[in-house]
């Protein structure tokens, strides 16, 4: 009931804003780019550096793409009562973008679940969508996710959704390989029952047997529980070397680390890139993850980027006087490729810009040299393995090569 009331309020507010957007006079030389990322909730530390990255990309070209002046608006797709992305807000954001004839590109979403809601809407309207963070394979790849994926997100039949980040089918496998390299034998897998978390956990589970890992359990947790002490007792009974959690900081990755430690369990704890943010170490308490937590990340950490990536990292620190989080470079890259597509399209036309984006080939960006494949995925496949040292993330090695 509580959720419902506030959602109604959000929807009404969004509708009003949408109406205002339409009411503004259109300028044929202005193009609007919007981003839809969760900025209320603990993901904010991560997403605000992504927004900074996007801003930086636009500033670097002086707010111009081809003949057009680019305006950027960061939108929030989270609500205070969920503390993370909210389906109602995401849907309202997509509708608002479609209703505004100046919006030519939609950068987002952060969560794969949110993408599922925005994708069919934006696809129908032909708006270019570039995600800097979605990793659920089914969003683009046929035959890996649900039976009707990804066609269900493409009602118009065209591909309008692209991502600059490698998907989870690679991440789950890479994580399992890394676990095997660390001489783990028995693994207990947990997931948060969300699209992203369960997705990676399942990929991990599928790849484990071939690598000689024994799966001693596969359980979905309740992401808002106050503690996982009884679950930890169950894990203790199975005596694994490694606990893998497919989930994010928002779905309580920190509490699990804490309860594993407080039960005196001496296991390795591996988590995917949804936890690759400082908030995870803060939530878990640095002493509970020091040297025992392993984090895979769909790319290399900002300070390990080379070439244009290194430039990005240096400039970012100079401009904002702080360290970028892991996905800031992806926000930057997404904005770069959007700007490039607009410039190459050369006209203020949603269809032409989507076509230009699809034709992106050998793009030289902060992440390296890459192209979009036929599904709209990046051709990049490198990942990195990280651990926690002295309360900070420490790079261990490059994975998946």
């Amino acid at each position: 009931m509580i959720g419902l009331t506030s959602r109604c309020v959000c929807m009404i507010a969004a509708c009003l804003l949408g109406a205002l957007g339409v009411a503004y006079a259109q300028d044929p030389n202005t193009i609007k780019i919007v981003s839809s990322l969760p900025q209320t909730g603990s993901a904010n530390a991560q997403t605000s550096t992504m927004v900074n990255g996007i801003r930086m990309a636009i500033d670097e070209v002086g707010g111009k793409a081809g003949p057009f002046t680019v305006r950027y608006e960061p939108w929030d797709d989270a609500s205070p009562e969920r503390g993370q992305w909210d389906p109602a807000v995401e849907a309202a954001n997509a509708d608002r973008a479609i209703a505004d004839p100046d919006v030519m590109a939609y950068i987002g979403t952060y969560n794969s679940g949110a993408a599922k809601i925005a994708m069919p809407k934006l696809n129908q309207a032909g708006v270019l969508m570039v995600s800097p963070a979605n990793t659920w394979p089914g969003l683009t790849k046929p035959g890996i996710g649900e039976a009707n994926e990804p066609m269900t997100y493409r009602p118009s039949g065209n591909i309008t959704y692209f991502r600059v980040v490698p998907a989870d089918d690679i991440q789950g496998l890479v994580a399992a390989k890394w676990a095997a390299e660390m001489n783990c034998k028995k693994v207990f897998i947990l997931h948060d029952r969300e699209l992203y978390g369960k997705g990676v956990a399942t990929m991990f589970q599928k790849s484990a047997p071939a690598l000689g890992l024994e799966i001693t359990g596969f359980e979905g947790i309740e992401p808002k529980a106050s503690n996982y002490k009884s679950l930890v007792t169950k894990i203790r009974q199975k005596n694994p070397d490694l606990v893998y959690f497919g989930g994010t900081t928002q779905t309580n990755a920190g509490q699990i680390a804490k309860d594993l430690r407080s039960a005196g369990l001496n296991v390795k704890y591996m988590v995917p890139d949804g936890c690759y943010e400082k908030a995870f170490i803060q939530a878990a308490g640095a002493e509970n993850v020091e040297g025992s937590a392993f984090i895979t990340f769909g790319g290399v950490p900002p300070d390990r980027l080379t070439g244009k990536g290194k430039e990005f990292y240096e400039n970012y620190k100079k401009k904002y006087n702080s360290e970028p989080e892991g996905y800031a470079a992806y926000g930057y890259e997404a904005a770069k490729v959007v700007l490039d597509s607009i410039a190459r399209a050369g006209k203020k036309d949603r269809g032409a810009i989507v076509a230009a984006a699809a034709a992106t080939k050998d793009f030289e960006g902060a992440l390296g040299k890459w192209s979009f494949d036929a599904n709209g995925d990046t051709t990049l496949k490198t990942m990195s393995g990280n651990t926690v040292k002295n309360g900070e993330y420490a790079f261990v090695k490059v994975l998946g090569e």
């Binding site: 009931m1 603990s42 904010n44 009562e81 503390g83 979905g220 002490k229 920190g254 308490g285």
Partner: protein, 319 residues
């Protein structure tokens, strides 16, 4: 671990978690007993209590206990400040949000309670940001905060596989005396007698010379203070606090109050313990995915056969 050891371990975990739920549930049930209002703001009040506790920890510069000691002295100021704060705040809520609506239709104070809950939730969101940063307790407003382990995790049973830690002892050592104390207050003191009188018939109580508003105010203070104790116990036991914890914990506590028979004090305690133990057992023997479904199925079953809750009919008197 043998099967029997696992069972006892889950029983300990269940009892500890259940007693924390019971402490919160008492706040719901006391208020309902006397003014028949479901105080939705209680869960969020509880959350604010733990934020105050973490702020004090930051201000005093406390850290987790060393390996050798069981308890940090730092828990004492917390157990004084949080109940006082929550009690006072709850009194204020009654005075300004519920009392003016005492004679309004039943729905009006309920909506007012939801409103207060939202105000508290957003206050928590704000408090978790800049103010927490002052004491370096994590400045990302909505991120879960690490609450230092002021009570050790050491196993009091020595090298036994079954763990009964100082934290479990703290939970039981706080909850059981408080419940006995509360029973004594309600049964034998002048205030307790007036509370029961108001609960049975407010008009008659007023005619007998009881200051009804004052008694109701005192009930809110008591319920709030219990919530304050619960907030510190919860934070020490789980070592994490975040601005939405009140919603989740409040949901469990409210369920416990209904399960035990809302308005009934021993019922709330029994309900809390039942929910805690059922949760632990369901996590172990069924699957964590099903735990919520199991808890609410039990609630539905109980309400079908005993519509007024487990102890609702056995004890007629409210409060």
């Amino acid at each position: 671990m043998t099967d029997l050891q696992v069972f006892f371990q889950q029983l300990i975990t269940g009892l500890s978690c259940g007693m924390i739920i019971a402490l919160i549930a008492l706040g719901y049930t006391m208020v309902y007993g006397i003014v028949e209002l479901i105080n939705f703001a209680h869960g969020d009040l509880f959350m604010l209590g733990s934020f105050l506790a973490l702020t004090i920890i930051g201000a005093l510069g406390l850290d987790q206990v060393g390996v050798d000691s069981l308890v940090s002295w730092g828990i004492f100021p917390l157990f004084i400040a949080a109940p006082v704060f929550c009690g006072a705040l709850n009194w204020g809520v009654d005075r300004f949000a519920y009392r003016p609506l005492r004679d309004a239709p039943r729905l009006a104070p309920l909506v007012s309670a939801i409103g207060v809950s939202f105000v508290f939730l957003n206050l928590g969101l704000f408090w978790g940001g800049a103010p927490m940063q002052v004491f370096n307790m994590g400045g990302a407003a909505a991120a879960p905060k690490d609450f230092p382990a002021l009570v050790s995790n050491r196993n009091l049973l020595g090298d036994s596989v079954i763990q009964f830690t100082a934290k479990d002892l703290l939970v039981m050592g706080m909850t059981i005396p408080l419940m006995i104390g509360l029973t004594v207050v309600v049964k034998y003191t002048r205030l307790g007698k007036s509370m029961r009188a108001v609960a049975q018939n407010a008009t008659a109580a007023r005619l007998m010379g009881i200051d009804v508003d004052r008694v109701i105010g005192a009930t809110f203070v008591l319920g709030g203070a219990l919530g304050g104790v619960a907030s510190v116990v919860y934070a020490i036991y789980n070592n994490t606090i975040y601005f939405q914890m009140g919603y989740r914990a409040g949901m469990d506590a409210f369920t416990a109050a209904v399960l035990g028979g809302i308005g009934n004090l021993p019922g709330a305690v029994l309900g809390g313990i039942v929910i805690g133990v059922v949760r632990a057992m369901s996590d172990q023997y069924i699957a964590t995915e099903w735990t919520n479904a199991v808890v609410f199925s039990i609630l539905i079953l109980v309400l079908i056969f005993r519509p007024s809750g487990l102890l609702g009919a056995a004890v007629r008197e409210k409060v």
